[in-house]
């Protein structure tokens, strides 16, 4: 058969290849070979850039595209150079594509790891209008200007150009793929796993280790990023014992699956090594399917707790840099071998190999066996061995290539210095192998140079509890991988007290490493690529050196070498080897940059898991929530709580109408507000009173049983921490309330005082915030209303239950409840609490009983207006820099006792004569507004920080005073009543005159609360 339109442009008759071609491949898959771990009996359809293709189950997008003779898959980031695959795995720098459409569109996915499914839609990225004709490829012509440091040097001036001109252009050019901007319809999960031994990587060493540990009965997790276990065995033709490599893998995996103590996780990338044996892993549950199965997540982020970990992550082949080494068709020799052996694909029917080590020759051997013509093996070593049955060019180097959208010719400089052009559609390059040390460096471990294999291997004890086996440790042969995997598993289990011995190891390939280090070809002035994803060349490294960015960390930042999504898996080593050459240091002296998690990119959705949308954080609903929903409530988030902000009644069109109505109704008759969210702490014990004396600045020891007191809590530095009321229900039983915002912190602080400072006080604390539903019932008719709720044996008269009284009572015919006569609004008011499960019923009962008084439910806005009218400090005032003195409570801080913060609050700087005092403000012109956040200036002084007199913390419109009012802090404010000061905000051009007034706008004598 004659192949047309072939990658290498040739038209040759190749009956052997024809004979081996799968029966169902049809004419489109011109590069499909026979065999492979794919199902050639069935075909699946997919599209790339709108064109329809066919592949087989078991293909990746990359292998299927190559089978269809598509070598050009992407454009590079900076220069928009045409690019194809470099690898066959997750290290891929080039072939990043967009998968799927609509809301599931996913950018920057490696074609080399994307499993093919029927109907897959893939698109290339970073090109316009098409891969073949890309306008931005003009950048390539200007590459002399776009070298390393270009951005740093060019966009420095003029300064004003940055925001308006440079940044928008750069933003437009930056990035590769695009987002759908639609919500991801899939779910992502998080999960937790525990094991004795975590085996990272399911190649020969990992399988051998898992089998050893599994047979010993240990709890084992075996994780591999690939969808097939086997690692390199899938891409090689090695036998193991009497079996083929793939059969041995299948038998081993079958046995592992039969062991209930072993969990085999394919499509699972272990991404990071964290402290104390904790590892993160991403399982791609449904990425290989068009849509996740019902009830299944797309991906799971696992947190794995392991007692021991064995890293069997294999090795990554490294390329050699030479001029124009980035053309589609040029790839790692191992990738070429993987495509042929595992996926039965060749990128072209005439290929060549460029290597500095024996392993590269294997590719030639395997491809020849598959019927692919190998034009030559070019080996940099003068004494290169003849291994494959094809032409060997020893002591030769590839010095240049040609082919605009794909490789057509390579130019070779032979040992004698003469040059020769060789026609080929693909070139396999092998510069040796780097053990995959990535994860051993996650806790700042440093790899060490191994001269024998010319590569870095993991340092000793890089991560506590982790050992390394197989190629990841520099033991490259299959026999060594099997041996070390089993041996390290035995050792790891031994640490855990599980005695076992190595498995019987089958015969396997045991070739020695034979390599002569060779990093880049010295020839000409063209560009030789190191980091293909970030378009970093050998020249860029030289420039970095010339400009003195010589440490590897500087080199990385200056050139962006290794900073792309592949983190330089195939490029870092080359870059630092060249820097070593330039500085005259050895490679180990030059060192590596630090590897950090995650090992491979993780989708944002996976990090987020289920915590998105309404599940972003838990929601706490108050006991009256249902009633509020039925009655026009608008809610506000207060931490996790949903509180009612106001209730809209029919006809009300603006929130202020609702709030003003609620305030007027409370002050005129009665209103109810759900205050359950305030923190409640139950305090019991014979030392409960002295304990409260310690945590509160004011005295509590002598508080009478049946009484409630306002308490101010300071931090040890003397600033106010929180305030609230505490009721003494009996001699040794108190109930404290805290602000909603500080409930958690106050409880934590009190436990600190109890356990760390006074460990032998007899006092116990428990948070009862969610145990009691609590409602404020406020207004002149609140007593009358509550008399209809509280059981009649309890006297609610002013004499029988005076201001600040508290009592355990019953309501509604015997339900236990607590009643406090406390007031935040300044009106006659109570707070009534019942066990939470009765909260909804009580709220409805109160609203029903209150009808005759026109009772209203009110929200946090009305609550806020009334407390500002009454001059009560709240969260806005307790801002962390405010002392008791500032609040006008300086005298409350008892000097007769030790309390938290009392000593430090005596500091000179906190007691200056012009200290801030909390005061009230009213606009001089009633049309003006008091604005919270504005600063205060003495009239006629310059508006600057030096003359600052204080600031406004809270402001609102008072429907009672028909004016805007505010609270705030003013220097020596207590002595400046009646003064007119300027309220300014230079940011918003605010400048109004306000009068300093008593912060208690309403009922300053406190008559109403005692009514």
């Amino acid at each position: 058969m004659t192949y047309t339109n072939r990658a290498d442009g040739s038209q040759i008759n190749q009956p052997t290849a024809r004979a081996q071609t799968g029966a169902h491949s049809g004419k489109t898959q011109v590069n499909r070979l026979a065999g492979g771990q794919i199902d050639q009996q069935s075909s699946i359809n997919f599209s790339f850039d709108g064109k329809q293709y066919q592949g087989h189950p078991g293909d990746t997008l990359a292998s299927a595209l190559l089978a269809n003779n598509v070598r050009l898959m992407a454009r590079s980031f900076k220069y928009h150079r045409p690019r194809g695959v470099l690898t066959s795995d997750s290290a891929e720098p080039n072939a990043l594509v967009e998968l799927r459409t609509g809301a599931r569109q996913e950018p920057n996915t490696r074609a080399t790891t994307a499993e093919l499914f029927d109907g897959l839609v893939a698109k290339s990225q970073n090109r316009s209008p098409s891969l073949k004709y890309d306008f931005m490829a003009i950048n390539d012509r200007f590459s002399n200007f776009l070298t390393a440091g270009f951005y740093y040097k060019t966009f420095m001036w003029p300064v004003s150009f940055w925001e308006k001109i440079y940044e928008p252009i750069i933003r437009k050019a930056a990035g590769l793929g695009s987002l759908s901007l639609e919500e991801d319809p899939d779910e992502y999960d998080k999960g937790f796993l525990h094991c004795d031994l975590l085996v990272v990587g399911g190649g020969p060493s990992g399988l051998s280790a898992a089998l050893t540990a599994g047979r010993a009965g240990a709890q084992v997790i075996l994780a591999d990023e690939d969808y097939l276990f086997g690692g390199r065995l899938n891409g090689e033709t090695f036998g193991i014992g009497e079996q083929s490599g793939q059969d041995w893998v299948a038998a081993t995996v079958a046995e592992l699956h039969s062991l209930p103590n072993v969990r085999c996780m394919s499509r699972t990338t272990v991404n990071g090594a964290y402290d104390h044996g904790i590892y993160s892993a991403v399982e791609r549950v449904s990425d290989h399917l068009p849509v996740p199965p019902e009830g299944k997540p797309r991906q799971i982020l696992w947190r794995i707790y392991s007692k021991r970990t064995l890293l069997c992550a294999g090795a990554i082949e490294r390329p050699i840099a030479f001029e124009n080494n980035d053309r589609p068709g040029i790839m790692l020799a191992s990738a070429m071998r993987d495509y042929a052996n595992r996926w039965a694909v060749t990128a072209a029917h005439k290929v060549a190999i460029f290597t500095n080590n024996d392993d590269g020759h294997r590719t030639a051997v395997d491809l020849i066996a598959k019927g692919v013509k190998v034009a030559a093996v070019i080996d940099t070593r003068a004494d290169a061995p003849r291994i494959a049955d094809c032409e060997l060019l020893a002591g030769a180097q590839v010095i240049d290539t040609s082919g605009r959208l794909g490789l057509k010719f390579i130019k070779v400089r032979l040992a004698d210095g003469s040059e020769r052009s060789i026609e080929c559609g693909a070139l396999g390059v092998s510069g040796g192998w780097n053990p995959n040390v990535h994860m051993t460096c996650h806790q700042r471990g440093r790899p060490i140079w191994n001269e024998q294999i010319s590569a870095f291997v993991p340092g000793e004890d890089s991560i506590p509890g982790m050992t390394v086996a197989g190629a990841a440790n520099g033991d490259f042969s299959t026999a060594a991988a099997l041996e070390t995997g089993s041996a390290q598993a035995v050792a790891a289990l031994g640490d855990l007290g599980i005695k076992t011995s190595k498995i019987d190891l089958p015969q396997a390939e045991d070739a020695p490493v034979n390599i002569q280090p060779f990093w880049h070809v010295r020839h000409g002035k063209g560009r030789a690529w190191l980091d293909q994803q970030n378009d970093v060349t050998v020249k860029d490294v030289k420039l970095a050196h010339q400009e003195n960015y010589r440490s590897v960390e500087h080199l990385k930042r200056y050139t962006t070498l290794g900073m792309a999504t592949d983190q330089g898996k195939t490029s870092n080593m080359g870059g630092l080897a060249i820097m070593a050459e330039l500085t005259g240091q050895s490679i180990p002296e030059t060192g590596t940059t630090i590897f950090r998690p995650p090992y491979s990119p993780v989708a944002m959705g996976t990090w987020g898991g289920r915590a998105r949308g309404k599940d972003f954080h838990p929601v706490r609903e108050t006991p009256s929530h249902k009633w509020a929903l039925e009655n026009g409530a608008s809610f506000v988030e207060v931490g996790n709580w949903l509180r009612v902000q106001w209730f809209s009644q029919p006809g009300e069109t603006h929130w202020r109408e609702s709030v003003d109505r609620e305030v007027r109704a409370v002050r005129a008759s009665v209103g109810v507000c759900d205050v359950t969210t305030l923190g409640k702490i139950d305090i019991q014990g014979t030392d409960a009173a002295p304990f409260l004396n310690t945590v509160y600045a004011n005295a509590f020891a002598k508080l009478a049983v049946g009484k409630t007191r306002y308490g101010l809590m300071l931090r040890e530095d003397g600033n106010a921490m929180d305030d609230g009321t505490t009721a003494r229900l009996s001699e040794h039983h108190f109930v404290m309330t805290t602000t909603t915002a500080n409930a958690v912190e106050v409880y934590r602080h009190m436990e600190f005082v109890r356990q760390c400072l006074f460990p032998d006080m007899d006092v116990q604390l428990i948070s009862t915030t969610e145990a009691w539903a609590q409602y404020a019932v406020a207004g002149p008719n609140s007593r009358k209303l509550l008399q209809k709720i509280v059981d009649p044996e309890f006297d609610l008269s002013n004499e029988g239950f005076e201001f600040m009284a508290c009592r355990e009572i019953t309501v509604c015919g015997g339900l236990r409840a607590r009643l406090f006569r406390i007031s935040f609004s300044g009106e006659l008011a109570y707070e009534i609490a019942v066990p939470t499960r009765y909260g909804d019923a009580l709220f409805r009962r109160i609203m029903e009983a209150g009808k005759e008084f026109d009772v209203v439910a009110y929200g946090t806005e009305a609550l806020g207006v009334m407390r500002i009218e009454k001059g009560h400090a709240a969260g806005n005032e307790l801002n962390g820099t405010i002392t008791a003195l500032n609040l006008g409570m300086g005298r409350m801080v008892s000097k007769k006792k030790d309390s938290i913060g009392s000593t430090m609050s005596e500091r000179e700087g906190m007691n200056l004569p012009d200290a801030l005092n909390m005061v009230g403000f009213k606009p001089v012109n009633s049309a003006d507004k008091v604005t919270a956040g504005g600063h205060l200036m003495t009239k006629g002084t310059p508006v600057d920080a030096e003359h600052d007199q204080g600031y406004v913390t809270s402001a609102c419109y008072s429907p009672i005073l028909n004016s805007s009012i505010g609270l705030g802090f003013l220097k020596d404010g207590a002595n400046r009543m009646g003064e007119i000061v300027s309220l300014v905000s230079p940011v918003t051009n605010l400048n109004v005159d306000v009068e300093v007034v008593n912060p208690q706008f309403v009922d300053p004598e406190g008559v109403r609360v005692r009514a």
């Binding site: 964290y274 707790y305 506590p464 760390c756 400072l757 000593t903």
Partner: protein
């Protein structure tokens, strides 16, 4: 990280909140002659040394114990975990 709670065994550090140096246990005597100076030091001064540190952790999502955790800040190795109340008693905070 994993904190080996003296009562509950190994627990994930996510269950805890961190406060700071265990020196906060040594709160000065308010009636001392130089109480203000002592409190200033107690509140603001810390030895900022890398390596082994004694720290206060609160088992907030657990049993609400305050713990003194001896942790190497270079390696995150935890070598000792004690109940803060026991440490406080040992440092003379019983009354």
């Amino acid at each position: 990280m994993i904190i080996n709670h003296p009562l509950l065994g190994p627990r994930d550090a996510q269950e805890f909140t961190f406060l700071g140096s265990a020196s906060l246990i040594d709160r000065p005597d308010w009636q001392a002659e130089d109480a203000l100076e002592q409190f200033s030091d107690y509140t603001y001064l810390r030895n900022d040394t890398g390596g082994e540190n004694r720290e206060l952790w609160f088992h907030e999502a657990g049993d609400r114990s305050w713990l003194v955790v001896t942790r190497n800040t270079f390696t995150h190795e935890i070598t000792n975990v004690e109940m803060a109340s026991d440490v406080a008693r040992a440092r003379g905070r019983s009354k």
